[in-house]
C-alpha cells in the first residue's frame, strides 16, 4: 500500500516523431515535429521552408507579361489563381478596365479551377485516412473537370488563360455546350460525394471532432478560405470584396457563402464539397449569362508607378498579390501571400491534443501547398550558409530594418 505522496502518475515517455521533410502523407516537403505521449500529440512544431524558389525576386527581373507565366508556376493546383490575380493586379496598377466578356471567362477559369482543386483535396483527404476507393473515384471524376479545363485553355495544369488586359482564348458555342454537359456530370457526382461518400461511417469517424479549430481561434489566427468557413468565420473574397464577374454573381443573389459550424475536419470537408457544387452552379450561370464582346483590351507594356493590392479567393483561401510598379515593364516589388501561409498559424493548435493517427488528415485539412508558401530561407552565398528563418524572427528583423531605413525618407 502506497501513501498518497508516494503515488506517481506514470506518463508514457515523450517521443518526438518527425513528419517530413519526406513523408508519404505530404505531397511536398515540410516538417512537422510532433511530440507524442503514446498515441497522443502533446506538442507540435511546424517548420516550413524547404521549397523556396525565389520567385518574388525573379519576378522583378522579368516583364509583366512574362511574370504571368512565372506566377502560374508558383503552384500547380492554383495556377489560374496566381496567374489571374497577377493579371488583375497589373490591370489595377495600369488603371484599365477589361471587357465584360473577358471578366466572365477569367472567372469561369477560376471557378473550374476551384472545382478541380476541391475534388483533388477530397481525394487526398480520403487517401490520408486510407479510404482508397473514394480516392480513386474522386480523382476519376476530377478528370472530367481537367478535360474541361484542357478544352477551354489548351493545357491541363498551367492554363495560361489570362493576359494583361483580358483573356487569351474565347469560349465558342460548341465549347460552351461541351462545358455545360461536363458540368451536369460533375454536379451529379459531387452530390453523390456530398450525400453518400463522406457519410461512410469509417470515414466520418476519422474526421468528425478531429482537428478542432474553434471560431474564436480561427479568427485570432487569421485562418482563411474553407478552413475558416469550416469554423463558421464568414470570410470569402468572392462575396466580401468581389472583383471581375464575382460582382455580377453576388448581385444575381442566387449564390451564397458556404459555412459550417462544426469547426472540425468534417466541417471543412462539408464546406469544400458543398462549395464545389456551388462552383458548378456558378460556372453554369457564367456560361449562360456571358455577354458578347471583345475578350481583351490592349494595355501598354509600361505600367505607370502605382501600388496596388489584388485579392482573390483561391480554392484554399484568400490569395493576395501586392504589386508596386515603377513605370517600366517590370514590377518594382511583388509580394505574394498564398492562402496556406495564413492557415499555417492555426496548424499547431489543430494538431495539439489529437492522435498521431489524425496528424495527416489534420495537416491535409487546410489543403497545404508548400511551394505556394515558402518564402523565407536566407542563403548567404559568400559565407555558404543556409538559414531557415522562423516567422517571428523574420518579423523582428523586418521591424528593425524598417526602423533603420525609414520609408518616408526616400
Amino acid at each position: 500500500m502506497t501513501t498518497p505522496d508516494e503515488r506517481r502518475v506514470v506518463v508514457p515517455p515523450r517521443v518526438s516523431i518527425p513528419i517530413g521533410p519526406q513523408h508519404p502523407a505530404l505531397k511536398e516537403p515540410g516538417m512537422f515535429r510532433l511530440t507524442v505521449e503514446g498515441e497522443r500529440i502533446v506538442d507540435a512544431e511546424v517548420n516550413i521552408g524547404y521549397n523556396h524558389r525565389g520567385i518574388e525576386k525573379l519576378a522583378e527581373s522579368k516583364t509583366h507579361l512574362q511574370n504571368l507565366y512565372l506566377m502560374e508556376r508558383i503552384c500547380g493546383i492554383c495556377s489560374a489563381t496566381h496567374n489571374g490575380n497577377y493579371a488583375q493586379a497589373v490591370e489595377f496598377a495600369a488603371e484599365v478596365e477589361i471587357p465584360e466578356r473577358a471578366k466572365f471567362i477569367r472567372t469561369l477559369t477560376w471557378e473550374l479551377e476551384r472545382i478541380h482543386s476541391h475534388i483533388l483535396w477530397l481525394g487526398v483527404a480520403f487517401h490520408e485516412v486510407g479510404f482508397d476507393t473514394a480516392f480513386m473515384y474522386s480523382w476519376r471524376d476530377r478528370e472530367v473537370v481537367m478535360d474541361m479545363l484542357e478544352d477551354l485553355s489548351g493545357n491541363r495544369v498551367n492554363y495560361g488563360m489570362n493576359t494583361i488586359g483580358g483573356v487569351r482564348r474565347d469560349v465558342s458555342d460548341e465549347l460552351r455546350l461541351r462545358l455545360l454537359k461536363g458540368l451536369d456530370k460533375l454536379e451529379e457526382r459531387m452530390e453523390y460525394y456530398r450525400d453518400v461518400a463522406i457519410y461512410e461511417k469509417t470515414f466520418w469517424d476519422r474526421v468528425a471532432g478531429v482537428g478542432l479549430l474553434e471560431t474564436g481561434v480561427a479568427k485570432r489566427t487569421g485562418a482563411v478560405g474553407p478552413t475558416a468557413r469550416g469554423s463558421n468565420v464568414p470570410v470569402d473574397v468572392r462575396f466580401n470584396d468581389p472583383t471581375q464577374a464575382y460582382a455580377h454573381i453576388r448581385d444575381s443573389g442566387e449564390f451564397e457563402m458556404v459555412l459550417s459550424d462544426r469547426c472540425d475536419v468534417a466541417g471543412r470537408s462539408i464546406v469544400r464539397v458543398t462549395e464545389t457544387i456551388e462552383s458548378v452552379r456558378m460556372c453554369r450561370w457564367l456560361l449562360n449569362n456571358m455577354p458578347d464582346g471583345p475578350i481583351r483590351e490592349r494595355v501598354r507594356p509600361r505600367i505607370q508607378p502605382n501600388e496596388v493590392l489584388a485579392r482573390y479567393e483561391a480554392p484554399r483561401g484568400e490569395c493576395i498579390h501586392y504589386l508596386v510598379t515603377n513605370g517600366t515593364q517590370s514590377p518594382e516589388r511583388i509580394k505574394i501571400r498564398a492562402p496556406t501561409h495564413a492557415n499555417w498559424v492555426s496548424m499547431a493548435h489543430c494538431l495539439r491534443g489529437g492522435y498521431i493517427a489524425d496528424a495527416p488528415i489534420v495537416l491535409a485539412a487546410i489543403d497545404p501547398c508548400f511551394s505556394c508558401t515558402d518564402r523565407v530561407v536566407i542563403v548567404d552565398a559568400d559565407e555558404h550558409t543556409l538559414e531557415l528563418v522562423p516567422l517571428d524572427v523574420l518579423r523582428v528583423r523586418a521591424n528593425r530594418w524598417y526602423k533603420e531605413n525609414n520609408r518616408s525618407s526616400d
Binding site: P24, V129, G130, Y137, R206
Partner: protein
C-alpha cells in the same frame, strides 16, 4: 522393409513440399494476392495488374522475384540477427498453419479429410500459432528500432488484444457443434448436421470474417502499417529479400484465413455431399476417398470456396476507410466481444433447450 521406408519418406516429402504442402500453398498465396488486387481494382473502376501473364496473373510472382533482387538493408541501430530472423519466423509460422488446412484426404483410414498435420486439439494449436504470428510482427517492429516501426508494433499489439478474443470465441461455435477440437473432425461432423444448424453459424461467421480482417491487418484495420500515418509501420525498415518474404508470409496468412473460414464455416472441401441424396452420402464419399478424382474434386471445391472468401475480404477492404486505433479497440471490446459471447450463449440455449423441443437434434 528398408525400401518401403524410403519410399514412404519420399511420398511424405512430396506431400509436404509439393502438394498440398509448401508449393501448393505458395502458389495459392500468389494467386490470392492477384485475385485480391484485381478485384480491389475492379471495384475501384480500375484495371489492376494487366501485363504479366493472363490478365496480370503472374504479377505477384514478378513482384516477389523483383523484391528478391533488390538491395537488402539493415538499419545500423537494429539488432541484426533478430531483425533478420523475423521474416523467416513469420514464413515458417504461416506455412505451418496452412499444413493444418484439410484440402485433400491425407489419411484414408480415418473418416473425413485431414490436413497434412492433424490430431486431436489442433484447433487450439492453430489459434496459438496465429497469436504467435502477431507477436512476431510486434517483434519485427521492435527490432527495427525506428519510431514508426515501434508505433506500428504497439498498434499491432493493440489489434491483437482487441480482436484475438472474438476470433477465438467465434471458432468455438463450430467446435461446440462438432464436439471436437480437431479441425478435420469439425468439418466432417458439420457435414452430417441438420440444415437448421446453419443458422447458428451465421453470427460466428460474421464475427470471424471481421476478426480475420483485423488479423490480416487489412482496411479498415490496417493501422499497424498505415502508409500515410506511420509509413508502413513495422515493415518500414525491411527491404529486399526480407520484405519479399514478409509479403509472402502475409499472402500465406490470407490463404490460411480464407481456408479456415472455408473449413470451419463453409463446410470445407465438401460440396455435392450437402445434397440430401443417398448417392452422395455413401458411395460418393467412398469413391472420392479412394480415387484420384477425389483429390482433384476436393482441391477444386476448397479453392473455389476460399476464392469466394477472398472476394468477400477484398470487398471489405474496398468499402471502408482506415479506423483509428482507439476506434478499433472500442469496436473490438464493446461490439465484437459481446456479440461473440452472446452467440455462445445462444448456441448453448439452442442446443440444450430449443432444438430438442423442435426435434431437430
Amino acid at each position: 522393409m528398408q525400401a518401403v521406408g524410403v519410399l514412404d519418406l519420399a511420398v511424405q516429402a512430396l506431400w509436404v513440399l509439393v502438394f498440398p504442402g509448401v508449393f501448393f500453398i505458395t502458389t495459392l498465396a500468389l494467386l490470392w494476392e492477384w485475385l485480391d488486387r484485381k478485384f480491389y481494382a475492379r471495384l475501384q473502376n480500375r484495371v489492376g495488374p494487366l501485363h504479366t501473364g493472363w490478365h496480370g496473373i503472374l504479377q505477384p510472382l514478378m513482384d516477389f522475384l523483383k523484391l528478391l533482387g533488390k538491395e537488402d538493408l539493415t538499419p545500423a541501430k537494429a539488432d541484426r540477427r533478430s531483425f533478420a530472423a523475423v521474416p523467416v519466423v513469420m514464413l515458417v509460422i504461416s506455412l505451418t498453419m496452412c499444413m493444418f488446412l484439410p484440402v485433400v484426404d491425407m489419411d484414408p483410414n480415418t473418416p473425413g479429410i485431414q490436413g497434412i498435420l492433424s490430431f486431436e486439439g489442433d484447433l487450439v494449436l492453430v489459434l496459438f500459432l496465429s497469436t504467435l504470428m502477431a507477436i512476431a510482427i510486434v517483434l519485427a517492429g521492435h527490432f527495427s528500432s525506428n519510431p514508426f516501426g515501434e508505433t506500428g508494433a504497439a498498434r499491432t499489439g493493440m489489434l491483437l488484444i482487441s480482436f484475438e478474443i472474438p476470433l477465438i470465441l467465434s471458432v468455438l461455435t463450430p467446435a461446440l457443434l462438432a464436439h471436437s477440437l480437431r479441425i478435420s473432425t469439425i468439418t466432417e461432423s458439420l457435414k452430417q448436421l441438420q440444415p437448421a444448424y446453419a443458422w447458428l453459424m451465421v453470427l460466428p461467421f460474421v464475427v470471424y470474417v471481421i476478426a480475420l480482417q483485423a488479423e490480416l491487418e487489412r482496411i479498415p484495420f490496417d493501422v499497424s502499417h498505415a502508409e500515410t500515418e506511420i509509413v508502413h509501420g513495422w515493415q518500414v525498415e525491411y527491404s529486399g529479400k526480407k520484405l519479399a518474404i514478409i509479403h509472402l508470409a502475409e499472402d500465406i496468412m490470407l490463404v490460411f484465413g480464407a481456408g479456415m473460414v472455408t473449413t470451419l464455416f463453409l463446410g470445407g472441401p465438401y460440396l455435392l455431399e450437402y445434397i440430401p441424396l443417398d448417392v452422395f452420402s455413401a458411395q460418393f464419399a467412398t469413391f472420392m476417398a479412394t480415387s484420384w478424382v477425389g483429390t482433384v474434386y476436393y482441391t477444386l471445391v476448397f479453392v473455389l470456396k476460399s476464392a469466394l472468401v477472398v472476394l468477400l475480404l477484398s470487398n471489405m477492404r474496398t468499402l471502408f476507410a482506415r479506423w483509428r486505433i482507439d476506434q478499433i479497440v472500442h469496436a473490438g471490446w464493446k461490439v465484437m466481444v459481446p456479440i461473440a459471447l452472446f452467440n455462445l450463449i445462444l448456441v448453448h440455449v439452442a442446443l440444450t433447450y430449443i432444438f430438442p423441443v423442435l426435434g431437430v437434434l
